[in-house]
Each structure stands twice: as structure tokens, then as C-alpha cells.
Symmetry: C2
Amino acid sequence: MKVSIALIGVLVSLLCVTSCSAEKNNKEWRVLDSSNTILLTLPHGKVVIELAPQFSPKHVAQFKQLVKQGFYDGVTFNRVIDGFVAQAGPKEDSEKDKSVPLLAMESNWSTDSTWSFTKVQENDFYAAQTGFKESFAVAYEPTNVQEGTGKAWLTHCPGVLAMARQNEADSASSHFYFVIGQAPRYLDGIMTIFGRVVYGMQHIQAIQRTEAIEGEYAVDSRDYTAIVKMEIMTDVPKAQQIHIEVENTASSDFLERIEKRRHRTHEFFYQKPPPVLDVCQIPLRSRLVK
Amino acid sequence: MKVSIALIGVLVSLLCVTSCSAEKNNKEWRVLDSSNTILLTLPHGKVVIELAPQFSPKHVAQFKQLVKQGFYDGVTFNRVIDGFVAQAGPKEDSEKDKSVPLLAMESNWSTDSTWSFTKVQENDFYAAQTGFKESFAVAYEPTNVQEGTGKAWLTHCPGVLAMARQNEADSASSHFYFVIGQAPRYLDGIMTIFGRVVYGMQHIQAIQRTEAIEGEYAVDSRDYTAIVKMEIMTDVPKAQQIHIEVENTASSDFLERIEKRRHRTHEFFYQKPPPVLDVCQIPLRSRLVK
């Protein structure tokens, strides 16, 4: 099947019926807010993280405060499981660890008829609908179709930054993790996601794993990857700042691109895959700007 | 919900109705066949790969022949896209490249009523059923339920090894890739998967990316990661051999483990996720043996 531009237009507008009405900004790229952008310096490279105060304000506020204090400088990634997560935090139950207040979960927010997002797919395993909201992968479940109410939450795609916790819901403090493998969507809604990597994900992937397989020597904790420095971008000297723009997932350019991705018109696809999209398998582009 | 061992037993036997009857070997671990195991030495670590001659015999035969010739020693990973694939091969259109015969696709094999696999999930986006066959993630689609016929194929989970190709179906030769990101399942059935990483996946994840984002300097090809050596394990001097056993995905231990994974009985899950499993999100354990 050849998908014409006209057809893509129709598909795009269909996708937008319930979800795009409030999206005003049609620019292809979106400038990050430097005051909600983190520069993470690892021994082997630099990583830029976009925080999400619009979704998880209390987690972002506490995380930024810790970053400003230099809390994470020298902290190691002490639970790094290939294909799963790279987690960092102070020594468990240390004074430093216990000094940080606990945070209440931030997820599963209620939405009304004015809420919108860029819908990508219906009926994935974990949600009635998936898509993007301000470049974050989200899931959406209608609760009352007539009233237009529902609930939404951020989903655990590779590259997201979330706060670890104890068994209790409201027990996160300072230990955080990046998802480094196939999306652990079963954690959706019970962990607070509060950011995502927008630059340097390969350096997150290169963090030393801490788990040895059966029969192998345990990894020496002196080999764990330590954070050299974690800073809010506005606090970084101008010459060392990294300025990133990310794809605007509310733009018509983006919608067109995901519809092309869904329909795989390139001749490489001598047999077409099913026209479905895994929200965690859609790369979101970043670009470096002066 | 608390899932009792008895309930797990019932679930396991339900899972097996159509799929486990022919699985005889109930041992928890499976020894790899050294003659179909590859030792890949990278500058930063060693990787062990299990080949799949039972699924893709011609690809495995040609790959092993190339490995034996030392064809891949010094070859670079020249297309490495974070979150997608790490691909290696000789210089495009070089004499070396053109010297290798083209391979016909090996996927989508027909099955009859004697065929069995360990079913994990129904109705994922890309297949009626997913599961494991000899530790490889497979998808299955019945074609005639009464006769018990169907078709099956290997799926693109992280860590699989597959042959790249040109636009034509039967155009693979020597260029191969590892999946390093969220499963690109849209490639299922149109690419030949012929192995998977069973040890050292973190070293595959640390391969130098070759794609720069817009606005950044292009990656210097002299920085590409080169293969130090690729050998069939039986050709490696005994003292340097790495012996791996992998989880036997046909065992009752494995079935029990995935059912526990599905139902998440640990108190950490203060709210239970939907009882579904993404076949690419189930870690398969390996262990090192003398």
C-alpha cells in the first residue's frame, strides 16, 4: 500500500479528533527550559535530562534542590541491571540517605475535556491509549467518554528518569533510576517518572553493571560508575552549557512522521508489518543548538 | 490477589494445553552447544552468542564459515544507533563485501500439530501468541486451529543477532546487527534472526554510536568500535573458553517463574499491573560454568 500525503492528512486529522484540539504550538522543535534541564557529567560522557515539573512537580522540586546542594556529586550507580535500570543513590540508611524527606507518589492524574495529547496507538497491553504529551510518552484511559474525563500517566519507556522507592507507595526520596532496557511498563503508575534523557543516552547505557551472573565474580563496588557532577543547566558556566531542542510532539510534522512510521511505505518493507506503533519504540529526535 | 502455588500449577497447565506437550527436558538449565556458540572479543569486553541453526540453518552456516575465516576480525560497527541496532560489516561494495554469497530469508516457518513452544502471552500487537522456543523469543500464528497448523517466527527482542540486508528480501550476506533498544518488532519476519547474546550484553550496549544528532560533529569513523576477534567457541583455546548455561524455557521452573512475573505478588506492587507479559521484557538468565 502506498500512503499518499493526502491519506496521511486524513489519518492525522482522525488522530486529532479527540486529542489535538488544544495543541496550539505547531513548530517542529521545542526549546528546553534551562531551569528544568539537568547536566549529568559521568566519567565517560555528558548527559542532558529534561525534567517534567508539569507532571511531577514535587519530585522535580526536591530533585532540583538536591542537585543544587551537590547531593549527587560522587554518588554511585549501585544497582545497574542490564536490560532494566541504572539506579543511583546514597548508601542505603546512611545519614545522608535518611536526611532526605519522603515524597508522595505523583502519577495517574485526572484529566477533563480540555486535556489533550498526541495519540499514537489504541489498546496496547497497558492502556486504552498511548501517545505523547510535551515529548513524554503517556498513557490515557477514559473514565467517562461523554464527559471527556479520564486519567493519564507517564510510561516507562527507555531513557525515562524515575524515583525509586521502598515497598510503600509514598517512600521515594533521592534514589533515582534510568530505564536502560525494554520498557518495564508494569511499573507504570506505581513509580514517579519525572524526567527523560534527551542527549547522551549512550553514556547511560555504558554505566557499569553491578549484577554478576551466577558463577561469576561479584562486581567490585570500587568499579561502580560514580557521578562526577550533576547540575541544573542554568548553574553551568555558559561555555559548558549544552543547549538542546527536542521534537515538538504536538506538531503536524511529528504527526506526519509517526503516521509514515506506522505505514512503512519504504520499499525495504517488502512485506508490511501490522500498522501499529509501540509508544516506547518511537525515537524522539533532539538537536544541539548554539 | 495472592497467587498460590496451586493456582500457578493450574495456570501453567493451562498454558501448556496447546504448547508444551512435546517438551520433554524439564531441567532448569540448558548447556549451550559450543560448536554453535560464538566468542566475540570487543576492545572493552567479551560477549558470548548462542547461534540458532535449528531456526536459521543457512544463515548460521554462512556466518560460522565467515567467522572461521577470520572475516570479521578488525571489522567495525559502522551503523550504531542508540535505542535501535549496533550493526557491523565490511566496507559497503568493497571486494570483501561482494565476495560473500547472498542468503535467502529464513523466517516464518510452517508448524504442524507436533510443534510446541512455551506460550507467554496472547494477542500482542504483532502476533496471536508469543513465547519461547529453546530460549529464543518466538511469535506464533495459527493457520488452521483444527489441524493444529500455524506459522512461527523469531522476534526482535533486545540482544538478538540478525542479518542486515538490502531492500530485496534475499539480499543478506555478512552485515549483521544486534538489537540494542526497545524491540523493533516491525522487523519480525522480514529479517533473519539467527542468534542471541547470552553473556556480556553490557559490552554490546557500550559500542560507540556512529550517528550524531543535528548540530553535533559527526562521529569520526576512526572512533568506531572494531571487532578484535570473533571465534567459534570450540576454536578458542580451552583456558579462554567461556562456558554458559541458559535457562531452559521449556522447564516447569521457567513456567512457574513467568507466571509469578505475570501476577506480581510481591508487596512492592501495592497496585497490581495488568497480568500481561511482553515477551521481550522477560529476562532470560545465564550462568557461568567451569
